[in-house]
Symmetry: C2
Subunit: 205 residues, 2 copies
Amino acid sequence: MNFSSKLLENAVAEFAKLPGVGQKTALRLVLHLLNQDPSEVERFGHSVIKLRNEIQFCRVCHNISDQAVCEICASPKRDQSVVCVVEDTRDVMAIQNTDQYNGVYHVLGGLISPMDGVGPSDLQVDTLVARIKENDIKEVIFALSATMEGDTTIFYLHKRLKDFNINISTIARGIAFGGELEYVDEVTLGRSIVTRVPYENSLSR
Amino acid sequence: MNFSSKLLENAVAEFAKLPGVGQKTALRLVLHLLNQDPSEVERFGHSVIKLRNEIQFCRVCHNISDQAVCEICASPKRDQSVVCVVEDTRDVMAIQNTDQYNGVYHVLGGLISPMDGVGPSDLQVDTLVARIKENDIKEVIFALSATMEGDTTIFYLHKRLKDFNINISTIARGIAFGGELEYVDEVTLGRSIVTRVPYENSLSR
């Protein structure tokens, strides 16, 4: 693209680095900001710089937090003996939104993916093992994506944790509520028959 | 959404104000930035702040520019007597990319839209009239979107300009190159028959 201004070109180039944002979208976003009040744009720019510079990660569960220990880990109302292992902060938010879980979390910060060069040492795995060793943890729940990387990570973590005296479970996989049977893929459908549950356990709340 | 951090929530809220960006996309973008180097994020944030604070608009054609008079308006190689009237800087870029136009531009900064409360006084209309009055302009080309707003704007501008001794034209409307006849809407197809051109003028370069 031929930009009429270097400043514009720079800003568009920065936006185009964001995932899923191409040159045209970047230009649209930048022109939108250009139409805003300077103070608005100032606030926009500083919000990300401030976030990046001041963000902390909870030293217990490694979730994004404003404090050294996050609200969930510090809460006396939550069951600190049940740990749900997730990939990132979005998964914590998604599970929190269900209102169905009252334990605590452990945020790995990614999934094991040899293709992308991500190994266990890049993730919060050792801290998870240490956390189980040093605290009175009764159950670990793996809530990871049902992908190759998710399964690899569960397989590895299970190997590391199986000798501890804890219950290890994964969240249930099967047909989504509201899902139509004919559109479900074979693997999911097949597994959902094999791992069928008693009728009284299957009802939506 | 339940954010685990106020800083995160703020940044997501700022991103979610961008057009076409919802909460989930905003969160994805912000988490991406959080994984970048602080210096990268600094550069991102400052690029928009700098753009907003330092941007200039060419005082001749009102296009975004780094100088008081943009490169196109200052160029001796371009025909300063032909003015192409466009909505915004994206249209200038699009026309420049075709390599088919050697005149200059006039950026209105929007289109007349009573529904959105945009009238002629909100646009660079008076400056266009003054420009034609004070300079030796031979032709004005309207290159505006073929929408209700575009047509309204052309209608209004034509009324303002018709008493000047200049040629007034609009860019051709019709079937796009590569377009299949059966998928073209009736209005476009009908007009393209009425405004048919001699065969030798119709060939793609």
